[in-house]
Amino acid sequence: MKKKLSSVLSSKIILILCVMLCAVFIGVSFFTDKLTTPLRNAISTVVIPVQKGMNYVGLLVADRYDTLQEIRTVLEENEDLKEQVDTLTEENNQLKQDTYELARLRTLYELDEKYPEYSKVAARVIGTTTDNWFRTFTVDKGSEEGIEVDMNVMADGGLVGVVTDVGPHYATVKTVIEDGSYISGMLIDTGDVCSVKGDIKLMDSGLVRLQYFKKDVVVRNGDKIVTSNISDKFLPGILIGYVKDVTNDSNNLTQSGYLVPAVDFQHLQEVLIIQKKKQNS
C-alpha cells in the first residue's frame, strides 16, 4: 500500500497534502479539543511511563552526584548547626509560650485560623516545555488521580501556577513566572491589591513584574504578596513571593516594581496540587 502511494504521489503533492493536514489540525485545535485530546491520550500512554522512568534515572544520578559533593560541606555545617540548635531551643520555648497564649486569645475572640487548610496531592515534575519561551511543565498525576483543570499548584509553600490541561495520567501546569501569566495579588497585612505579571525579559533574574499598587500604599522590600480574593482561578491567601524595589510610576497614580517568587523554579522537582477549585468553593 505504502509502496504504491509513494510511487504514484510526487513529493510536491505530498507536501501539499501534509500542509493541508497541518491546516486541519490548526483549525480544529483552534476551536475544540475533540481531535487533540484522543491523540494526546494515545501518545501519553507511550510517552508518560518512559518519561517517568527517565526522570527517575536522572534524579538518581543527580542525587549521587550531589551527595558526593556535599559530604564535606555537610560536616562543617553540622558543627555550626549544633550550636544553632541550642540557641533555637531556647527561642522555641519562648515562642511556644507565645503560641499557647495566642491560642487562648483566639478562642476568646472565637477567631478561626486566618487561612483554611487545603487538601493537597503531591506530584512529580516529569517534563518541561519543548521550546525556550515558556516554563510550562507536566506532572505525573492526572484526571484518574483526581486532578482537574484550574486546580492551583504549590511548592515550597508558594504558588507555582495552575493546571491548564489534564490527561488520564498527566497534567500540564502553567507557571506564574512565564510570559502571559497574569494574576491578582495583595499585600498580606493590609490587603492592598496589585497584579503579578510574568515577563520573559525578567527570566534571567528570576523575577516577576508587580504592578498597579495605588500611590498612597506603603510597600516595603520583603513584604509578602499573596493571591487575592478577586482572582477567579486562584484560591485566596497563597503566598506568591516577596516585594522588591517598588517605585512610583511616571503617571504618578500607581506604583510598580518586582516580585521575588517564593518558589525556586529552577529546581522544581515535586509540587503539591490543591484539590479544591475556586469556582466550587
Binding site: S11, C22, G127, T128, D179
Partner: protein, 172 residues
C-alpha cells in the same frame, strides 16, 4: 516499513530527551531544539518524502502537550524537510556543512515564526532582544548538537537503507 518505525523511535527518543533532560542540559536557560535536526538531516540524506514524513511526526509531537495550536510546528518542520530534500543526492554525505547551513536557516525561520505568534502579536516588539537572547543562542546550540549527531544519524540512515534496499530503488 522498518525504516518508518526506526525513524519514529528516533523521534520519540529525542523528544523524551528534550522534555526530561532539556532543562538540565540548558546553557543560560537556552536548550537546543533537538527535534528540528531530524527532518533537515533526513531530508538531506534520504530525500524530500522522508524529510516531510519525519517533519510531520516530529512537529506534531513537539506541539502536542505544550501548545494550544497544534500543527504550526508540524507545518514548519514539513517545509524544513522538503527544502532540505531539494539538496538530496546533489551533494556527498561527507559535505556536512550543507545540512548544517540548512538547519541554521530552518531553525531561524521556525523560531522567528514562533516569536511572531507568541510575542510580536502580543505587542512585544523588541525583535533584536528576542533574536539575540533566545533565537541566536538556540541556533548555535542546536548546530553544536547537530555536528555531534550528524555521523551517528548518517550511519543509522545507512543501516536502515540496507534493510529495505528494494524500496529505495523504487523511489529513485
Amino acid at each position: 516499513m522498518k525504516r518508518k518505525v526506526g525513524e519514529l523511535i528516533l523521534i520519540l527518543f529525542l523528544y523524551l530527551i528534550q522534555v526530561t533532560f532539556g532543562r538540565n542540559i540548558a546553557i543560560g536557560s537556552i536548550m537546543p531544539n533537538l527535534l528540528i535536526i531530524l527532518p533537515v538531516l533526513f531530508g538531506f540524506l534520504q530525500g524530500k518524502n522522508e524529510g516531510m514524513f519525519i517533519g510531520f511526526c516530529a512537529g506534531l509531537l513537539y506541539d502536542l502537550y505544550f501548545s494550544n495550536l497544534i500543527g504550526v510546528t508540524a507545518m514548519v518542520f514539513v517545509f524544513a524537510g522538503y527544502f532540505a530534500g531539494v539538496f538530496y543526492q546533489k551533494y556527498e554525505e561527507t559535505e556536512a556543512l550543507i545540512p548544517l547551513a540548512l538547519l541554521m536557516v530552518s531553525d531561524f525561520c521556525f523560531e522567528f515564526i514562533s516569536y511572531i505568534g507568541n510575542f510580536l502579536l502580543h505587542n512585544k516588539l523588541d525583535v533584536l532582544y528576542f533574536i539575540s537572547r533566545f533565537i541566536l543562542p538556540e541556533i548555535v546550540y542546536t548546530l553544536f548538537v547537530a555536528v555531534i549527531m550528524y555521523k551517528p544519524i548518517a550511519f543509522l540512515n545507512k543501516r536502515l537503507e540496507r534493510k529495505d534496499k528494494r524500496r529505495l530503488s523504487e523511489i529513485d
